[in-house]
Assembly symmetry: C2
Homo-oligomer: 158 residues x 2
DNA sequence: CGAATACTTGACAACTTAGTCGTGTTTCTG
DNA sequence: CAGAAACACGACTAAGTTGTCAAGTATTCG
């Protein structure tokens, strides 16, 4: 259970774009500089994000990357799903099969319930945080997160 | 963001032990058979669990593994922490540093808040599910999980 | 004792993920 | 049009995870 490097750095790059004033383009070099990452790596990450439709690229001189939507319209869930391989509920028990073609507990699996419960639980968290909610200083972000979760963290409530 | 294979299979092995009647020892071979995994692999996983104090091993003929505590006294959180490298809050921003010795946003980091919030959120889920709650059939497990979470999933409430 | 059973340990090969590099393509500017 | 700035892409190296193997140690039982 861990956050992958791509997810971490991809989100950072996206946040740099979100901080750019009114849809200003930023070059890979600028972003790399601000995040102390190599340009080559930032490029790779941005291409992933572009493929997922979260950012848009402009080629040529004066080119660069821009956020495709307002920061308030992009959820962390989308970012993580775009960049990392997030296991969806149906990967469970087809991904882990041991030595047989099908999960040993296919018809009655105690693990599946927890894993899919956990997966949903996490998605719920991520889907309620937007890029915008991560802007501003750290203290403010913590507060917003705690507040957002108090309202929205219960996957079982209607 | 994903569940590692070790976490998955380690939990499965532990559940097999939890299903054994009144602390009956089970051999690696038996567990491997029931979960359709190789004996070598199950051995490795059980050693990890033993190192963490979750199971106890008995050597020699008639040896095997036993759960160290009652299933109701073992939380998923412990299992996952024993087996996988769960990032704690203080790994964040020391693990991901880019090209500098210290995180670029050390003093004011928008990412840290989310990541640590997410980490706590997940731990909260895992710490409220016990091995016992995963026994029984899948339908019952789902219900118990939903029920448990409704009471205990809010890290911000006191 | 000695043979069989079962855990113990560390090394290792296969695979996946992380991060880099070189070369190519597009666009702007003079 | 030529050169510079910037993205595009695929191949490649390095590092970390998975899963296996072989040789070793402890325990039981005849």
């Amino acid at each position: 259970m861990k956050i992958s490097a791509q997810e971490e750095y991809g989100l950072r790059c996206l946040l740099e774009l979100a901080r750019a004033r009114d849809g200003q383009v930023m070059t890979v070099r600028e972003i790399a500089g601000k995040e102390a990452l190599s340009s080559a790596y930032v490029e790779k990450l941005l291409r992933l994000l572009a493929k997922a439709g979260l950012v848009h690229s402009l080629r040529g001189l004066k080119g660069g990357y821009v956020l495709n939507r307002a920061p308030s319209q992009v959820t962390l869930g989308e970012v993580v799903r775009a960049i990392g391989q997030v296991p969806t509920t149906d990967h469970i028990c087809t991904q882990f099969t041991g030595m047989q073609a099908e999960c040993v507990h296919f018809s009655n699996c105690g693990i599946r319930s927890v894993w899919s419960g956990l997966t949903n639980y996490i998605q719920n968290f991520l889907d309620h945080a937007t890029l915008e909610s991560l802007l501003g200083d750290e203290y403010a972000v913590s507060n917003r997160l705690a507040h957002g979760l108090r309202q929205a963290h219960d996957p079982t409530r209607r």
